[in-house]
């Protein structure tokens, strides 16, 4: 069973690695950030699989923290590309 979990984790790691091509290619900043966010979601999935392999409950805490902070980083990105660096994309002007 652990073999299958390792294989799944390997597959997700490989697919997130391939998606970094989008981070390199762009063309917009949003595209590059999306590649990073995909690694974030993939990382959470890999951590859940590693939890199945290792069995330590602390690994799930890392997954929880990763999900929370990936969201935080995305909000930071959206703020940084707004016109004055501190705005909300929903505000007009």
């Amino acid at each position: 069973m652990a073999e299958f979990h390792y294989f799944a984790a390997l597959a997700i790691l490989a697919s997130t690695a391939i998606s970094l091509w989008r981070t390199l290619k762009g063309p917009t900043r949003a595209d590059r950030m999306m590649g990073t966010l995909l690694v974030g979601t993939g990382g959470v999935a890999i951590l859940v699989l590693l939890f199945l392999i290792h069995g330590q409950s602390g690994v799930l805490d890392v997954a929880l923290l990763l999900a929370l902070l990936a969201a935080f980083a995305a909000v930071g990105f959206v703020k940084s590309v707004s016109p004055d660096g501190a705005g909300d994309p929903e505000e007009e002007g």
Binding site: I12, A30, V48, L49, L64
Partner: protein
Amino acid sequence: MMAAYASAVLIALGLIFFLAGTLGLLRFPDAHSRLHALTKADNLGLGFIVAGAAVQAGDVWTVLKLLLIWILALIASTTVAQLIARSAAPRNIGGEGGGG
């Protein structure tokens, strides 16, 4: 036993969605359609993997924590999708001519 097989099937389904998400991110024509691939396909894949893990979990607290992780990822992804989509709208696409 049953739980192991069910878990394996769920994790395999999750893998398929993850691969689909990566494919979408690489092949879709523009930023907004890529957002669909990122936030929908990947979170569904994560949900299947969490379900596969929950089936094999030992106690109810682990299942609850796994569910919490998935719900958090869902809420974060939906919100981030909306925010990035609006910030990448044609009037300020976020890309630069010369740098960035």
